[in-house]
Amino acid sequence: MLFEAKVGLARVTAVTSRTTGRGGGTTLPGRLLLRLQADALQRLGERLPKGAAVVSATNGKTTTAKMAASILSPPLRLCRNAAGANLASGVASAMLRGEDADLGLFEVDEAALPAVAEALAPRALVLGNLFRDQLDRYGELELIAAGWRGLAAALGPATTLVSNADDPLVASIGRDRERHTWFGLDDPAAALPEMQHASDSKWCVRCGARYAYTAVYLGHLGDWRCPSCGDGRPRPSVTAREIQIDGLDAVGFRLCTPAGDVAVRLPLPGVYNVYNALAAAALALELGAGLEQVRAGLERFSAAFGRFERIDLGSGEAVLLLVKNPAGGNEVIRTLAVDEAPKRMLIALNDRIADGRDVSWIWDVDFERLAPQIGSVICCGTRAAEMAMRLKYAGVALDRIEVRTDMDEALDRLAAAAGSSYLLATYTAMLDLRGRLEQRGLVLPFWQEAA
C-alpha cells in the first residue's frame, strides 16, 4: 500500500473515533498509521513547511506548548497534540489532522522523547525539567536523563536545544551543543527559604558532591554550582526578573531576552508557570517571533484543560488543578498558599497506569503545608481512602475529611454547598472529573477544549 493510502485509512479511524465520542481520535489514527508504516513520523514531519518544535519536561509540557501556541498562532498555522496524547501515536495523529499547518508544535512524553524527536528532527527542542515521577512507569530519573543525553548526541546540528539552566540534571544534557538557548529565573527575591523535602538531583552529576545554591526557586531548580568540581549553571540568555505574585489570578515579571526586555502579566499564578512562560518565550523567539508578539501571546493565554482551569459549578467556581508528582504537587500547594483563607477542596487520587500504580509519591508532597488551609476536603478516586489517610497524617482533623470513592457522588457533595472550591486530581482522575462535568454540561470535552 502506498503511504498516501495508509494516511487516508488512518484518517478514517479519526472520524470514527470522534463520532463514537471516545477520546476524540487523538491516539488511534496515529497508532494505526505507525503500525502500517514504521517511519510515518518522519514522513509526516517532512511535510510540515516550517518543520516541527517539540516540548518535553516532567512538569509543564501541556501548559508550555499551549503558551508557545498562543504566541505563534496567529500568524502561523500550527498542528498540535493539544489534548495531551503525547506518545508517538498522539504526535502522528496530530499531524494526520493538521494537513494545512505551517509548523508542528508537539509536547512529548519524557520517556518517548528520544525516539519521537529523532524521527521528527525538530528545529527546536525544549528540555524543561526533570523531577521524580511515576517510578513504576518511568524508572529512576537518571534513566530518563540518559535517554535525553543519547538524543542530544544523535540530533543533527540544525536542531536548537532550548533548556532550563536552573535544573542541573537538564543542564548536563547537550552542554557541548553549539545551538543551545538557556533560560532561567534571575530573581533572588523569589527564592525559597530552603530546599523542599522531595528535591531531586541534589548531588553533582559529574562528581557526586552536594550542589550549592545561591537561590532555590522550585524543587531542585535554582542558581546552582558544584563547589567541588566547579561545574555551574549555564548563563541563561532568556530570564525572568522582578517576579510579582498577584494572588491566584496572575503573576507579573520582567522578561529579559537578547531581543530586549518587556514587562509581562501572565494570567496564571505560580512560579512554575513563570518557568513555563520562559520556556515558551525562548522557544518562540528561536522560531522567529518578535518580543512584542511574545508578550501579547503570553498575556492572552488561557489555562490548558485541568491546569488551573476555572469551572462554574452553578454553586460556585471550581478551580481544577492537575497534580501528578511531588514537585508539581508542592508547587500547586505553594501557589494556593497565597490565599490563606480556609478552602473547600476535593482531592481525586487514581492509581491507573497513566497515574502511576504506585501511590507512595503522595507522601513526598508537602500536604502538611496545605493542611492549615483545608476547611473541608472530599477525597475520591480509586485510592480515596489512601488520600484521606495521607491528609490525616499531615494534620488535617478527621471531621474535615470525607471519603467518597465515587466521583459523581463526590461532585454532588461538593456542589451541595455554595462557594468556591479547589479540585486537585491525578491525570486520569482529572479526565474522569472533567468527563462527569461534561455530562453535566459544565465543560467541553477536553479534545474540543484543547483545540
Partner: protein
C-alpha cells in the same frame, strides 16, 4: 515522658519511595499516644548515635552508590546496637544493604553491612506491582501486610533465616520461593513500600512496642482509631488481588 528515638540513616540519599511516610507514621502514632519521639538524621561521616530503631530507606542507584562506602563504617556499631536491643527497619535498597552484597549483571559487587545472612543478585526483569503478604511475626497475631514493590534485585535468605512474610499476591524476595523480606528479632527488611507503615498500622505499633521495651517500658499501646488506615489497607489488598 516516655520517648523513643529513631536513627534515620542517609535521609537525603535514601528517600526514593516516600520513606518519610514511614517516619511520619511512627511519629504520629507516638504523638497520638503521648509518647515522645525524636528522629535523628545520620548523614555521611556522622557517628552512629544511640537509638531505639534505625531506619534505612531506598535510593536511586546513583545515590545509593554515593553512600555505599560510608555505610560500611556502621556495620559493627549497628550490630552492637541490635545486640543491645535496638531495632532496624530497612526498605527496598536499604533492605539489600542489610545483607552481604548486591551482585550486578557484570558480577560487580556492592558490599552490604552483613547484619543479616542474605544476598541479592541483579535480575533480568524488574518486579513491579502491588503486593500483599501474610505475616506471622514473633509475639504478634497473623497479619496482612500490603504495599507496592519495585525492584530488579533478587534476594535470597540464608539457611534458617526467617522471611517477614509469605507472598499472597506479588513477587516478593526473588519471585520464586514465595518469601518476602526478612525478620531477625527486631531487625526487619522488606521490598514493600507504598510507603510501608501508614497502611500497615500493626507493624508500626509492633516497632513502637519493641522500642518501648528497649526503654524498659513493657506497656500495652493505647488503641487508636485506625478506620482510614484499615480502609486504605483493604483497598490496597483488593487491588493487589486483581
Amino acid at each position: 515522658m516516655t520517648r523513643i528515638t529513631i536513627g534515620h540513616l542517609y535521609p537525603e540519599h535514601l528517600n526514593i519511595y516516600a520513606d518519610r511516610g514511614n517516619i511520619a507514621a511512627l511519629e504520629r502514632r507516638c504523638a497520638w499516644r503521648g509518647i515522645g519521639f525524636e528522629a535523628i538524621a545520620i548523614g555521611p561521616g556522622d557517628v552512629l548515635p544511640d537509638a531505639d530503631l534505625y531506619y534505612l530507606g531506598g535510593g536511586q542507584d546513583r545515590d545509593q552508590l554515593l553512600i555505599a562506602d560510608d555505610i560500611a563504617r556502621h556495620a559493627e556499631p549497628l550490630r552492637a546496637a541490635v545486640d543491645d536491643g535496638a531495632g532496624v527497619l530497612a526498605v527496598c535498597g536499604g533492605y539489600q544493604l542489610l545483607g552481604h552484597y548486591y551482585r550486578g549483571h557484570q558480577g560487580d559487587e556492592m558490599r552490604g553491612i552483613g547484619l543479616v545472612d542474605l544476598v541479592t543478585e541483579a535480575g533480568s526483569r524488574r518486579m513491579i506491582g502491588n503486593i500483599m503478604l501474610d505475616c506471622r511475626l514473633d509475639g504478634a497475631a497473623p497479619q496482612r501486610l500490603v504495599g507496592f514493590e519495585n525492584h530488579a534485585g533478587r534476594t535470597f535468605l540464608g539457611e534458617g533465616v526467617q522471611p517477614l512474610g509469605q507472598v499472597v499476591h506479588g513477587h516478593g524476595n526473588n519471585g520464586e520461593d514465595g518469601a518476602e523480606g526478612v525478620q531477625q528479632g527486631s531487625v526487619i527488611g522488606t521490598y514493600v513500600h507504598g510507603p510501608l507503615l501508614p497502611k500497615n498500622p500493626w507493624l508500626s505499633d509492633w516497632l513502637i512496642g519493641r522500642a518501648l521495651e528497649r526503654q524498659g517500658q513493657d506497656q500495652q499501646l493505647t488503641p487508636l482509631d485506625d478506620g482510614l488506615e484499615l480502609e486504605a489497607q483493604r483497598v490496597a489488598a483488593a487491588i493487589a488481588a486483581r
